[in-house]
Assembly symmetry: C2
Homo-oligomer: 181 residues x 2
């Protein structure tokens, strides 16, 4: 049975729990797979770094914690330092190129572009940086189709912000593809 483990990490307040929930919805409701989304709060979670995890599988998920990370998003240097140690060989690391200046090294694919700046300057709202990052993770992981991922975004945000979030998703998806080419 296939099992794919994703971790979204960065600073508290960056919307990473929401990004994880949207990934789980995309995989389950729209893609027909099963998913568990979780976050841990404890000594290791204190301080500035924050993470949210999603497991996607074709069947039931017995152990819902990340054991060997297939794909890691790190929005900050602290998150990259803290959460990259269990990134799998052949996995993928996505970082914000302006906030992670010393990316961890290893046998994985590293893709970077300015996620926060894309949200701020090209969409006009820093608050959608999590959706830019989500779009990028969809492109890099291939666990859900672009179409299903977009549906999950649009069904999860308030109606007044549909266009903003759609733009954020599209920019994230396309910039990740361009950066990994």
């Amino acid at each position: 049975m296939s099992r794919y483990e994703l971790r979204f990490s960065g600073a508290g307040g960056q919307g990473l729990i929401t990004a994880g929930i949207i990934m789980a919805k995309a995989a389950s409701i729209y893609e027909g797979k099963q998913a568990v989304q979780s976050q841990s709060y404890g000594p290791e979670a204190r301080g500035g770094a924050s993470k949210s995890e999603v497991i996607i599988s074709d069947g039931p998920i017995d152990y819902p914690k990340v054991t060997k990370c297939d794909a890691l998003l790190a929005m900050t240097q602290e998150a990259a330092d803290k959460y990259s140690s269990d990134l799998k060989e052949g996995g993928v690391l996505l970082t914000d190129s302006e906030f992670v200046l010393r990316p961890p090294k290893g046998n994985f694919k590293h893709v970077a572009f300015p996620i926060m700046t894309t949200a701020k300057e090209e969409v006009g709202r820093e608050i959608v940086a999590n959706i830019v990052a989500f779009g990028a993770m969809v492109a890099l992981t291939g666990q859900v189709s672009r179409e299903n991922a977009e549906k999950a975004v649009l069904s999860s945000v308030p109606e007044a912000f549909l266009e903003l979030n759609k733009k954020a998703f599209t920019l994230g998806y396309e910039k990740a593809l361009a950066a990994s080419a």
Copy 2:
């Protein structure tokens, strides 16, 4: 090591994931315990019923899924029917008295009051029903202090809605105590 398992269930869109996240924050950030909050999406999660789970412990949480539920919130009949089978002997079941007309029977304490109606008529906004329910669960489970729970609510909602949420929390807490006396 103590381990306490809570489940918040009801209909999708009722804010039960948020209620779970606030419980996990209250337990960890304010009460100094450890917590994991999660939701599963799969065949069992399809349809109208939705659940969010929180495990609270004094130490590390190895298995983050509910195994034997100590406390269950059911906002709807469907959720009560679907999620009460693993409620522990001596546990606690909180239901919305207007939506759960056939509460499950068992060796647990059952407390009921009109949660949705409290939010709608006494706070003035149905959208805070999840915070009314959260306040009630705090009162009934005793895993976090009233003060720490309120801090977690106030640090999790937009500033414009502080008063509304504070009122919802207080009403839920006090109505649950009154209903269980």
